[in-house]
Amino acid sequence: MIKGYAGRILEVDLRTQRFAFAPLDEETARLYIGGKGYGTRLLYDRTGPGIDPLGPENPLIFATGPLNGSVAPQSNRFVVVCKSPLTGGIGNAACGGSFALGLKKAGIDVLIVTDRAERPVRLEIDGDRDQVEFRDASDLWGKGTYETQRLLPKRHEHAVIGPAGENLVLFAGIVSDERIAGRTGVGAVMGSKRLKAVSVRGSRKLEMDDPEAFRTYTKYVRQLFEDHPVLGESMRRFGTGAIVNTTNGRNILPTRNFQRGHFDRAMEISGEYLEEHGLKGVKSSCIHCPVTCGRDVELEGVGRVKGPEYETLALLGSNLEIGDLKKVSEWNYHADDLGMDTISLGATLSFAMELVERGMLDAKLQFGDPAGVTELIQDVAHRRGLGAELADGTKRMAARYGGHEFAMHVKGLELSAYDPRGSYAQGVEYATTNRGGCHVQGASMYLESVGPLTINPHSLRLKADIPIVQQNLACAINSMVLCIFTTYGMIPKQIHALSPSSWQHRALSFALEHTPGALLRGAMGIKGKPMMWYEKWLTFITGTTFSSGHLQEIGARIFNLERMYNLREGLSAKDDTLPPRMLNESTFPGMSSGHPLHLLLPSYYKKRGWSADGVPLRATLERLQVRT
């Protein structure tokens, strides 16, 4: 077996309560690494078109990669893959916490859960004894994710759902510790199987090709991260909430259901404010991560809990016009405990508020007013009253009540907290990302709107190229499996130190912006020596050379396979779009329209090697060895 892998897939059938270990396929691992890549390959091969995402035929795949279990910083993540009940296309979500480490210690690279249990069940997996026990979970059904984890065996690592998953909320997630695989409704799929929790333990160690080189280099990278202004300073002090004031200043902070990009009370929901008023301590949010981006907050009557991330601060804060950090923290806690994605939840709530504002929905909801929201969040998770409708997400709400032009989703997945009208590359990424309107499948905005060296977000230059490079990289990162935040370390501290008004900063910005797209993609595609830390880690662990070019190729392979999956499920170029508000309404003075997607999409397709209607060409699939 290739080093870095446990070499085993565990398949569990919930209906028959049988399980079997099978060897990991080395060729698939070489082509797709692991995590999201391997999981997508399995989903594509094991299912036919048109399956019901909430039916027993939709497998729920938990996948790790060769970096998991290695103690490399930020290598604590697993990916869940299945057909999404929210979008009808590819579903996947990555999660921190400790479950990935548990799987690897149990000697399991991939866990496939199939069919459906007759009554609530939980799994206890002992990798040392190669045993899987099917335990009755009736006593846990209905409990929150935090209490559930407290009640589960202490020596195991867990992945659980809350009431939202049990009640098939279409944006329910799966929780490990205080982290959530939030997007695309993977928790609803777990709930549809009546699977409350998976607990796993083992004592196996990861085998590496060159452990000494790995140890020495990892020590160096830890120090690099410690000294980095983003990973070692900003994120550590303020968490991801540090970005609120930046997006607000750049007019891309979603406000009032994306009616504006600027919120007057942004400072009051920012990471900086959190540090001054709400933070009670910092803890290493995920195992082996020196960045510690997680915040803790003290909630009255609850105690110390995980604080809100940037996306939550924006979608449950500014986008509802709520400038009350305590309220947002409270809602964040409830959403996590109930097991729901705060992005989709916040966006669906803001959509409902705008429906009410326009007289299209009769409900006691309004922008800027927190009254009733706490109760409504509970109602969503339990599918009660209006909550039952909100539980189906924005797209279905729009089908029911109208308001398509201000329904903020792509392919059914609610938009993240970067308004693409001030971030054109991010808009192309939203429109084309296979799982829908999400920011962590490329994070193009870092290079044009929020990072230390950004290109003009309103020019068309590079706006079709950056998403391709970033999406490919993100596919590879999510297959190792590493946290996407690692890419924020790619811009060295010397550049962060430059004054934005200095000639050096201006010269570098100019050079970046005027780099031909073909040169950018070509340079990233060179198969040479490993340069970045994650390339070196992969190389030291597996014994196979990984460079930027290798990862771009593997990432493109995964991305195209996802695309083929979506096409098979009936999605097409018509779904590669942005909400009409994003295309037609401007939030910038002097601009008469929104995002110029129609000018960028044809170029994106061509550079991807796709036809004019967004279908990967045969030559592209053959070059990338994508079997369909």
Partner: protein, 87 residues
Amino acid sequence: MPVTVQLSYEMRKALGVSRVEIEGARTVADVVRITRERFGPAGERFDELTRRAAVAVNGILASYRRGMKTPVANGDVVAFVKAAAGG
């Protein structure tokens, strides 16, 4: 309507306010000058911190337009922004 100046976190820590409103500015350079004068003796600190932040007029970086000569009008929001990362 005055021009609203949104200060960075470091400026807020140093100067005690997160935003000020000013009158009479026609360019970004005017905004910096008038805001500095507003803070009196602490204006030097403000000046120093402007070098660590980019400046955006209604969300668009001045560096993409005419730099310090970028025009501003009443009702505009001029923000001092720092690079950040999140997700």
